[in-house]
C-alpha cells in the first residue's frame, strides 16, 4: 500500500469537521447507551456479574453505534470515491504510477481503519470509564481485545455497501443520500420485533447489522434466551458469518474498480 497516498487520502476525507463530528456523535451515543455502575450481588456472583455487565455494555454500545457508523461510512466513502469521480480527480489518481488495486486499498483503508478505531476506542473509553477498578481492568481489556476485530469487520461491511453505492452513482450528494436512506431503512428493519413482523424477526440476528453484536455477545459469554436464534450458531459461526458479510460487497466493488470498466488511465 502506498503510504504517501494513504496519508493524502486520510487528510482529504478526515478533514475538519468530519473527524470531530464522527467522534462527537459516536461518543455521545456510546455514553448514552450505558448506565451508571450500580449493582448488588453476592460474593460468589461478583465476578460473573461483573463479566456480564461488561459484556452487555460492549454489546449495547456496539448496537447503538450501528446507525452513526453506517451514516458516517456513507458520507466518508462518498467523499472518497464519488467526489473523485464527480470532480474528475479519479483520472488524475489513475494516471499515477500506482495500481488500481493499491488505489482501491488506500481509499478503503483510509475510511475503514480510522472509523473502526474511533468506534472501538470510544467503546473501550466509555466501558473503562464505567467499569475501571484495579481488580477488574483485566476483564475489560480482554473484552476490548475481542471487540476490535468485530468492530473492524462490521465497519468493513458498512463501507463495502457505501463503496458499491458510490461506484454505482458516482456523484457525491446522491451517494450520500442513498447511503443515508439505506442506513436508516436497515436500522429501522433490524429493530422490528416478532409482534410486528412475525417469526421472521427472529432471523434478523443473522443480518449484517445484528450479527456483529451477537458475535461479540456470544464471544464474551452473554446469555441469550434458550430458544433464541442467537444460540442457533456457535460463537465462531457468527464470526465466520461477519467475515463473509465483510467480504460480500467488498469483493464485487474491488473487481468493478480494478477491471477498468469506465475510467481509463
Amino acid at each position: 500500500m502506498n503510504l504517501t497516498l494513504l496519508k493524502a487520502e486520510l487528510q482529504k476525507v478526515w478533514s475538519r469537521p468530519i473527524f470531530e463530528l464522527t467522534l462527537g456523535l459516536v461518543f455521545l451515543i456510546s455514553l448514552n447507551s450505558t448506565s451508571t455502575l450500580f449493582e448488588i450481588a453476592t460474593q460468589s456472583d461478583l465476578q460473573s456479574k461483573f463479566s456480564t455487565l461488561v459484556a452487555e455494555s460492549f454489546v449495547n454500545i456496539m448496537s447503538f453505534q450501528m446507525l452513526p457508523l453506517v451514516l458516517f461510512c456513507g458520507l466518508i466513502v462518498s467523499l472518497s470515491f464519488a467526489r473523485d469521480y464527480e470532480q474528475g480527480q479519479m483520472q488524475t489518481l489513475l494516471s499515477l504510477p500506482v495500481s488500481r488495486a493499491s488505489l482501491f486499498a488506500v481509499k478503503f483503508a483510509a475510511v475503514v481503519i480510522p472509523l473502526a478505531l474511533v468506534s472501538w476506542g470510544v467503546t473501550v473509553f466509555v466501558v473503562l470509564l464505567n467499569f475501571s477498578t484495579a481488580a477488574n481492568n483485566l476483564v475489560v481489556i480482554q473484552s476490548a481485545a475481542w471487540a476490535l476485530p468485530i468492530t473492524f469487520l462490521a465497519v468493513m461491511f458498512y463501507a463495502g455497501l457505501a463503496v458499491v453505492i458510490s461506484l454505482a452513482l458516482k456523484r457525491t450528494i446522491p451517494s450520500v443520500l442513498t447511503t443515508l436512506i439505506t442506513g436508516f431503512f436497515v436500522s429501522f428493519v433490524t429493530t422490528l420485533r416478532v409482534e410486528v413482523i412475525g417469526d421472521i424477526a427472529n432471523y434478523l440476528v443473522f443480518t449484517p447489522y445484528k450479527a456483529p453484536t451477537v458475535a461479540l455477545g456470544r464471544v464474551l459469554g452473554m446469555r441469550y434466551p434458550e430458544a433464541g436464534y442467537e444460540n442457533a450458531l456457535p460463537a465462531w459461526g457468527f464470526l465466520v458469518l461477519i467475515v463473509f458479510y465483510a467480504l460480500l460487497l467488498l469483493v464485487p466493488a474491488y473487481l468493478y474498480f480494478t477491471r477498468k470498466f469506465e475510467v481509463k488511465e
Binding site: R16, E20, G24, N32, T36, F38, I40, A41, L46
Partner: protein, 181 residues
C-alpha cells in the same frame, strides 16, 4: 493533526462527558434479597458501584408490595430481627460495625468506584430473608458520578486551553508572515 484540532477534539469529548456526568443517573429505591438466613448464619452482599455519593442503606427492609398484600405476608419477611452488620469500603476498611434490629437504615457515602461489602449475621432465632435496600434521592445532583465529572471538567478545561493556544499560535504566525518583507 495540528494543535487547534487536538484541542477541539478534547473540548468536544469533554463537553459531551460533562453534559452526561453533571446530572445524577441513580435515583429511587433498589432492594435485593438472595438467600434465607438461618440463625447464626452470615450473608455477604457486594455492592459494585461508581462514586455516586450519598445514599441511605436499609438492612431487613422488605421490598414494597402491592397494596393488597399485607406487611409480613411471607413468613420470611420478619421485622425486629437482631443482626450484626458490618459495612466495608472499597479498600476493605470497616466503615460501620454494630448490632442492630431490623429494619435498620443508615447513611452511606459511595465516594470511590469499586466494591463495597455488607456482612449481615442473623442473631435471632428464626430463619428469615434479609433484604438489602439502597435509597437515593430523586435526581439529587450530589449523586452524579464524581470521577466522571472531574474528568469531564479536566478535559473541557484542557481542550479549551489547547484550542485557545492553537488559535493564538496561528494568529501570531500569520501576523509574522504578513510583516516579513
Amino acid at each position: 493533526m495540528n494543535i487547534t484540532r487536538v484541542g477541539l477534539v478534547l473540548l468536544v469529548v469533554g463537553l459531551i462527558l460533562l453534559m452526561n456526568a453533571s446530572s445524577s443517573h441513580v435515583s429511587g429505591h433498589l432492594t435485593v434479597s438472595y438467600d434465607y438466613l438461618d440463625e447464626g448464619e452470615t450473608q455477604s452482599y457486594v455492592i459494585l458501584t461508581a462514586p455516586v455519593g450519598p445514599a441511605n442503606m436499609c438492612i431487613g427492609l422488605p421490598p414494597s408490595r402491592p397494596s393488597s398484600m399485607p406487611a409480613g405476608f411471607s413468613q420470611y419477611d420478619l421485622t425486629d430481627v437482631p443482626v450484626h452488620m458490618k459495612f466495608t469500603d472499597t479498600n476493605n476498611k470497616s466503615i460501620a460495625e454494630q448490632d442492630v434490629i431490623t429494619p435498620y437504615c443508615f447513611d452511606v457515602d459511595f465516594n470511590a468506584r469499586g466494591v463495597y461489602r455488607v456482612y449481615i449475621t442473623n442473631k435471632g432465632n428464626e430463619t428469615t430473608s434479609m433484604p438489602l435496600g439502597i435509597i437515593f434521592d430523586f435526581h439529587n445532583p450530589a449523586n452524579r458520578e464524581a470521577d466522571k465529572y472531574l474528568l469531564s471538567i479536566a478535559l473541557t478545561a484542557l481542550g479549551a486551553a489547547i484550542t485557545g493556544a492553537g488559535f493564538v499560535i496561528n494568529f501570531v504566525s500569520k501576523h509574522r508572515k504578513q510583516h516579513k518583507p
